[in-house]
């Protein structure tokens, strides 16, 4: 084997992609040619360094959760729907989620309306929209001390952001969303593959209201009132675990740890 042929074959040799005969030719040549041998050493050492040093990333839980909830949509298998609301070119593929949200809205709008009804619609649409790529959180952090201050200056409501990871509800982040035509904070928690959005805003109604659960399109919505705040949580998590979450959240809310 000539040196030029050997140099051409070194990459495939390093990668074990040569056939038996070719490989033996390179073996023999390398045993007798110091220059090619040095070329091989550099390529092999580079490959080894990369294999050992480069990180293989794990898909984050939030991504898995978003994919699973998107797959759970009945229309996930259908062709993309053009986006009716805003131009999100890179989100075109997620159009079906908006379609799902708007059909939920249409469905609800046909029933006798009330402000509570409107809030339910907005909250459900907001939750579904939040599961689209790039819409879950504007501030992604598992630290309440990052999430809470983030809302300052963006919104006149300072939401409660209790730490609940010790009981299995890690904080995912926060964002500002629209409910009833005004901006409200949404604080996002995770539970396995599920996301929980918690919305809150001040109310003039000073009476407390115990959490009540309703179910819309497979999502559970929980509404309660406490300390002059209206609170809503929405998730596709099962009701038992969602109640456990609400319980812990409202207890933490009543006695904030600071």
């Amino acid at each position: 084997m000539r040196c030029a042929d050997c140099r051409d074959a070194i990459t495939a040799y390093v990668d074990g992609e040569l056939l038996g005969e070719e490989q033996r030719d390179v073996d023999e040549h390398l045993a007798s040619c110091a220059e090619c041998r040095s070329e091989y050493d550099i390529a092999a050492e580079t490959s080894r360094t990369l294999k050992e040093g480069l990180v293989r990333y794990a898909a984050p839980d939030v991504l898995k959760a978003r994919i699973r909830s998107a797959l759970a949509q009945p229309s996930a298998f259908e062709p993309p729907v053009p986006l009716p609301r805003r131009s999100w070119p890179r989100l075109a593929a997620a159009g079906f989620l908006i379609a799902a949200a708007s059909s939920a809205l249409t469905f609800s709008a046909m029933r006798p309306g009330s402000t509570r009804r409107a809030a339910t619609n907005d909250i459900l649409a907001s939750h579904i929209r939040s599961l689209m790529p790039g819409h879950l959180v504007d501030v992604a952090s598992t630290d309440q001390h990052n999430v809470k201050p983030w809302f300052n200056g963006r919104i006149d409501v300072s939401p409660e952001v209790p730490r609940l990871d010790s009981i299995g509800f890690p904080l995912v982040g926060g964002r500002v969303d629209y409910v009833g035509g005004r901006p409200v904070p949404a604080v996002v928690y995770g539970r396995r593959q599920h996301m929980i959005n918690v919305f809150s805003w001040p109310t003039t109604d000073a009476s407390a209201l115990a959490p009540s659960v309703s179910t819309e399109n497979g999502y559970h919505l929980v509404h309660w009132r406490n300390g002059g705040m209206e609170l809503w949580a929405v998730s596709d998590l099962n009701v038992a675990e969602l109640r456990q979450f609400i319980d812990a959240f409202s207890r933490a809310e009543a006695s904030p740890e600071r």
Binding site: T11, A12, T46, A70, A93, A94
Partner: protein, 174 residues
């Protein structure tokens, strides 16, 4: 699509999510962009799933992820400044509790990440597919849509650049 197909999709395609995310992380050099693009790619894969028969599901998914990454890059070219890995890496290095040996190891790794991040996309993708994901030339050729000979020569040139960026050529030659 029937429920059975949905289950088949989850069984065949979803196990390769880590590989998909890893490729997107290296191609886009941004955690959040990578998440968005992988989600988009998986949903596309779902719609094309009818066209998928048997075969290499991993290479099939990675090819879709790669195309979505390239499309994304074309659309977003220049509309933001990405600082690849640097912040994260600097944070890790400056941790005063670290022992010297660990710090050296980390700074080696940081140098490696920077060197790979600096490669042109066509080199970076073959390096990631080969050295991180362990694909064969045939599989890489399917993912990037180039002949195996081209895959090999890109790998050779990419390794040469990295060897010189990391000082491996000088070390081995001495």
């Amino acid at each position: 699509m029937a429920q059975r197909d949905a289950e088949r999709f989850e069984r065949i395609v979803l196990p390769h999510l880590d590989d998909a995310y890893t490729l997107a992380r290296y191609l886009l050099r941004d955690e959040h962009d990578a998440q968005d693009v992988v989600q988009d790619a998986v949903l596309r894969a779902l719609r094309y799933f009818d066209g998928y028969r048997d075969g290499d599901a991993r290479a099939w998914l990675l090819a879709i992820v790669r195309n979505c990454c390239l499309t994304w890059q074309r659309r977003h070219r220049g509309d933001r400044v990405t600082v690849p890995f640097a912040d994260e890496v600097a944070e890790r290095i400056s941790d005063p509790r670290e022992t010297d040996a660990l710090a050296i190891q980390r700074s080696d790794r940081a140098m490696l990440e920077r060197a790979v991040a600096a490669l042109p996309t066509e080199f970076r993708e073959v390096i990631v597919l080969r050295e991180v994901e362990g694909l064969s030339y045939k599989e890489i050729s399917d993912v990037v849509g180039a002949p195996m000979g081209t895959v090999m020569s890109r790998l050779a040139r990419a390794r040469k650049r990295l060897a010189s960026a990391l000082g491996i050529d000088a070390r081995e030659a001495s």
